[in-house]
């Protein structure tokens, strides 16, 4: 086992053992963070693996969440076995439509177009009776997973953890496959890929749709966990926060998204803590922002790049030392 796989195994083992010592606040917080990790993974597939900077990931998340509440509210004790796929499917379908149009643009235009589509989705749930307006809607009956009531904190924690592990393993496999290599080629030099015989558009559209579906899965989990959805789930703040997470963690590998989501949540908790900051805790956004700027400036490869950065620094120092001794 390489140290990288070892690291991932340790993270998941720790998450599996966490409920043994967690209180209800901690359990809810980590469930939420794991859902954000799923979202960060979905965005990593686009940004880190394919080179498509999407600024509208919250829309896929929100659509998944709203579908969970709107469809799940129509029947007596809905089963997660059809409700979750429905959320994934709806988000993926929306991503397919948005991707088909927005992937015709590039660079900063792509960023703006994905943001524009997400804002459209935001105002649809915000301003129409469909989404219950700013008040949002409640999911009165939590869905069942093979008889397990997902409304119970431990059940949703376990389900979220299992799905996070599944998404992570799926992406790790996918990125090593021919499809994943083609996405990497598109990220590095799309023109060269076309000259080599790859029609790149279908590849990008497939990645975009897949990413939307995974984010929709996160939406389903979030709606079930809180039993409540509101338009803020689709706001651009979340899309931005997800981008910060994957940059913080380190672009280019699913590990970065995983680490970034947890680092972001930890920082947020830290700066919100009145025990540490006293009255300053009200301005937690400032501390969080400054820390993120500092991290990005000091860690060009993100948190997962730290070991390599240290290694290179050590090697560089040793080389300078040797050069100094020789002269």
């Amino acid at each position: 086992m390489t140290s990288r796989t070892g690291f991932v195994v340790v993270v998941f083992a720790a998450l599996a053992l966490y409920p043994l010592l967690a209180g209800s606040y901690g359990l809810d917080l980590v469930t939420k963070t794991m859902i954000y990790a799923i979202l960060a993974l979905s965005l990593e597939l686009l940004v880190g693996s394919t080179g498509l900077v999407c600024f509208g990931q919250a829309a896929f998340f929100g659509i998944g969440a709203y579908v969970a509440v709107l469809l799940g509210g129509r029947v007596e004790s809905p089963s997660a076995l059809w409700l979750a796929p429905a959320c994934v499917g709806a988000a993926a379908l929306y991503a397919l439509a948005v991707g088909a149009l927005s992937l015709r643009t590039r660079g900063v235009y792509f960023i703006m177009v994905t943001l524009a589509f997400a804002q459209m989705a935001y105002y649809v749930v915000h301003d129409t009776p469909l989404g219950g307006g700013t008040d949002g809607i409640y999911l009165n009956q939590p869905p069942l997973l093979l008889g397990l009531d997902l409304g119970r904190p431990l059940a949703i924690y376990g389900t979220t953890l299992a799905l996070l592990a599944a998404v992570f393993a799926f992406l790790a496999l996918l990125l090593r496959s021919r499809f994943g290599r083609a996405l990497a080629g598109i990220r590095i030099n799309e023109q060269r890929m076309r000259a080599t015989g790859f029609s790149t558009y279908p590849y990008k559209l497939a990645a975009f749709t897949l990413s939307g579906g995974i984010a929709g899965l996160g939406g389903f989990l979030f709606a079930v966990k809180d039993g409540f959805v509101n338009p803020e789930l689709l706001s651009w703040h979340l899309s931005g926060a997800l981008l910060v997470m994957i940059i913080l963690g380190g672009l280019g590998h699913p590990r970065g998204a995983l680490v970034g989501a947890f680092a972001f949540a930890l920082l947020q908790e830290l700066f919100k803590s009145e025990a540490v900051w006293g009255p300053l805790a009200r301005h937690w956004n400032l501390g969080l922002g400054l820390t993120i700027i500092a991290t990005v400036a000091l860690l060009p490869r993100g948190l997962v790049g730290l070991p390599r950065q240290w290694r290179e620094a050590l090697v560089g120092r040793a080389a300078r030392g040797a050069a100094g001794a020789a002269s």
Partner: protein, 253 residues
């Protein structure tokens, strides 16, 4: 019957023209590339060589004219489709994937022939077909010893060789090479010319190049372009003697 097989034309363009507004970058160019030959296109900067190669490869739609690849009209085909049909091109600047190893670079190129993107569970390095093509392509350009070297760490000359290997990995019939000798030292140039000489067998090669000594050493046929038009298209000896070419370009070379 003369006993000689008829020359096999793999790529043919006729009346190829590209206008940018009022400016004519390429005017009415017709070229035939035959299997087993190196056809060089020379001309000063701005003569239209790059525009020509971009139209042939499918990056740039022509304003007028027709392109035939292996007997089929491909004028309206997008670049990836032309590439899959047997048209490989290299670029003037390095377009290798610097963070991949030599083998991975070649494998990704070879993969375009065995695209099975839905096989997401199968690791790319387990695909026997693309592995075999990748090994073969890397060996044929002399990079068999560097398979596991990260491409970004190669010397300039080796990077240019890898660029060609990535073309070969897709098993093209026609090679469009845009200044493969740019920035090379004498030894690297010799190695590349040997490689092109080998590739001549089995391929039709279009060579855009500024190094005149190299062009006259390797080319079977030379087309001279001036201001987007063909000034002369003939054997190297004839081109060397051509008066207008002498005046316009070679400067008594």
């Amino acid at each position: 019957m003369t006993g000689h097989p008829a020359p096999e034309v793999l790529l043919r363009c006729s009346g190829l023209t590209r206008r940018w507004g009022g400016l004519v970058a390429v005017a009415d160019v017709s070229i035939e590339l035959q299997r087993g030959t190196v056809h060089a296109v020379i001309g000063t900067n701005g003569a239209g060589k790059s525009t020509l190669i971009n139209m042939l490869s499918g990056e740039l739609p022509p304003s007028a004219g027709r392109i035939e690849l292996l007997g089929r009209d491909v004028t309206g085909w997008p670049q990836p489709r032309r590439a899959r049909a047997g048209l490989g091109r290299s670029y003037q600047r390095n377009t290798i994937y610097p963070e991949f190893t030599v083998l991975e670079n070649c494998r990704l190129a070879a993969q375009s022939r065995w695209q099975r993107p839905w096989a997401w569970w199968q690791a790319a390095d387990r695909c026997a077909d693309s592995n075999a093509s990748a090994h073969e392509a890397a060996s044929s350009v002399g990079l068999a010893e560097q398979l596991d070297v990260v491409a970004g760490a190669l010397s300039h000359g080796r990077k240019r060789q890898l660029e060609i290997a990535m073309c070969l990995a897709t098993a093209p019939e026609v090679l469009l090479l845009d200044e493969p000798l740019a920035g090379m030292g004498a030894e690297e140039t010799d190695r590349m010319l040997d490689l092109l000489d080998n590739l001549r067998r089995g391929h039709a090669i279009l060579l855009v190049e500024h190094d005149m000594d190299a062009v006259f050493r390797i080319a079977d046929r030379i087309t001279v372009m001036v201001n987007g038009s063909v000034l002369a298209s003939d054997t190297p000896e004839a081109v060397r003697r051509h008066e207008q070419v002498q005046e316009a370009y070679l400067g008594g070379h």
